[in-house]
Amino acid sequence: MTRKHRRLLLLGLGALGLGTAAALTLTAMSDNLVFFIPPSEVAEKAVVGRNFRLGGLVEQGSVVRGAEAGTPTARFRVTDGAATITVTYSGILPDLFREGQGVVTLGALQPDGTFRASEVLARHDETYMPPEVAAALKRTGHWDPAKGAPPPATSWNTLDPKRVN
């Protein structure tokens, strides 16, 4: 094998490695990209059964805790000020989960229009608002960043959002 052949072989191996990596990336991306959808865009964008991240504020007074077959469950509504979606979740809610606060949940829309969450993320301090949620609030016109900090989270559900379900 000549020097040139060897170099070609090395180059080929490198290209094969990168090619495999690229192919793996593309296939995995088509299946595993998770979009963030705020409640007001769920009707338009969400596909029943496909995972996405739903985020907004937990509506004041909407949390109902229960238990199914010994497993704790929770049911609450998530709002972005323009629409709300009912979320069901079984498991332990995170420490920082509170009514009136920003939350991001991962799960899928059910045929009955509720959202079944497999993960609930609320892992920052209580003044923290997830950036996606902040952006959604800005879009629905409930917060103009030019006018300063967002209004207190507890007042969000008094904005009378139109209910989706």
């Binding site: 094998m1 020097r3 060897r6 170099r7 072989l9 090395l10 191996l13 490198g14 094969l16 490695g17 990168l18 495999t20 990596a21 793996l24 990336t25 296939t27 995995a28 991306m29 299946d31 595993n32 990209l33 998770v34 979009f35 963030f36 991240r53 805790r65 238990a67 010994g70 497993t71 704790p72 079984s90 498991g91 332990i92 809610l93 420490d95 920082l96 991962l106 892992r123 920052h124 301090d125 209580e126 997830p130 950036p131 996606e132 952006a135």
Partner: protein, 649 residues
Amino acid sequence: MIPELGHFALALAFAIAVAQAALPLWGAQTRDARLMAAGPALAAGQFLAVLTAFFALMWSYAVSDFSVVNVAENSHSLKPLLYKLTGTWGNHEGSLLLWCTMLAGCGAAVAGFGRGLPTALRARVIGVLGLVAAGFLLFALTTSNPFDRLWPPPDDGRDLNPLLQDPGLAFHPPLLYAGYVGFSVAFAFAVAALIEGRVDAAWGRWVRPWTLAAWSLLTGGIALGSWWAYYELGWGGYWFWDPVENASLLPWLTGTALLHSAIVVEKRDALRIWTVLLAIATFSFSLLGTFLVRSGVLNSVHAFANDPARGLFILVLLALTIGGALALFAWRAPGMAPTGLFAPISREGALVLNNILLCSMAAVVATGTMYPLFADFLFGHKLSVGAPFFNATVLPLAAPLLAAMAVGPVLAWKRARLEEAARRLWPAALVAAAVGLAAGFGWSAVPALGFAGAAWLIGGAVVDIAGRARWSMARLAGIPRAAWGGAVAHAGLGVTVAGIAGMTLAVDRSVLLHPGESAGLGGYDWRLIAVADGRGPNFSLRQARIEVTRSGDHVVTLTPQRRFYPVQRMTTTEAAIHTTGLADIYAVLGEERDGAAVLRLHLNPLAPWIWIGALIMALGGALSLSDRRLRVGAPARRRAALPAGARPA
């Protein structure tokens, strides 16, 4: 007074760093011995100055000087002293100062340990380190001064995020940073070599110990962070593919590749240009990690800084450092003729395969980590890339890497025969197959493959050492420590792989229990005895007592807690973990309702092996580092064996 002293020391350090960058580099270019000789002294001076600043800040934390903004925002008088001290780096400004301290320490280390290096090379390495340090010190001084004062001082501070008040996390940043920053030395060596236009076997020998040290520290730092996430976040998982975790994994992957390709440079004088590029890439990923964490562009548990000005400054710093190094590479690398011939089946070939696979893994992890950023900037899509993506892309690349890892060390340099490798490796293959089959009957394919891979790696390491010793104690004792280190590190990865495979069999269950009731999980009976209140130094707590029994025999009493930190108005979960060595019995206390407590129970098989394996890997690195042949400055025992390209210092 002390904070002003610190501020002054920081500014002084910047001035020294500028001199450290300018004088030795200029001296090396004009062959001015006096200018070159200034380098080591300036590097030591810079380290002293930054260290003074660092201890000034630590002092302000220790005495709770709330007239310093940084202390007022991140500390509290009631916090235990350990967390007051470690709180020094629990915030943006302090951690940046820690970063600068480490970087200056690297410069001082090169000055101190690098006496055996050629004068010009050492001057250039120290100069490049000074250049990087000057950039970061300027960043600290202009956008993130930790010594800003506050008047009037508040009565008390705002406290450190309670999640960070933990021994594991107290020492995770220093280790991780030491790893990140340690790669700056390899980077400086690469840039210096490009300036000189010469890379040879001696260069490989000089770069390797620095890379090894950085790699071992980074391995330890990542493991400590993962362990912290496991017990402190209370989700029962050990790796979340969080962007910041990925940011630390990227330099680890390319750093591992660098570690191996530097061996080829040292032993065979081949892959030189590639190794230089890897050294640049590894430190670039370290910088990228810093940028991602410090700029707050990524949404993560770690993102405590959210200031666009800082993000922009780091981005410019990043672009200058990486862009400058790559431009230099593009200019100088074509002048370095490729050398070293080897057959595809050879030790070099195996190391090339290692590099290709590790870099491919780094590429997919980087893509998955950065894609949400680009999708947001370019298309305005808010999306995230989660664990399924990384599992689907990284595992298929990791599998052939593990398969090849045991083969590589038993192949001969230059030209090897696979039959010979097979003849030596059959015991390892047999053990792996037996373990895989046994596991396959008990569980599904994925853990079975994982256990087989783990057995293959550990068996391969044993075969490697046994093959060198060939049943002779004298030969066993004569095996160089570098070879031991490699075998130990490979076996360590095997232990970690076994732990990861074990964790795919983890089970968990959320239950709602009244005191006296019990639930079953994983063959254990978990009975809630009581939930009671308690107090800690700066928090109040609720604590559950859970008695775990197995067929009537007492195993352990677990006491998971929920802590409430009044200053930050934050609740944290303290998981209770009992390890048997083969499994972790793990319980988390959730909320309470109507006298019943929500509990999450986990049984995590082989969980501790993940971190034990990482520790073994880091120890393997340290063992290899202690090899006399690798220590620059140690008198070479066989002068004649010195590679032809090396010049006596």
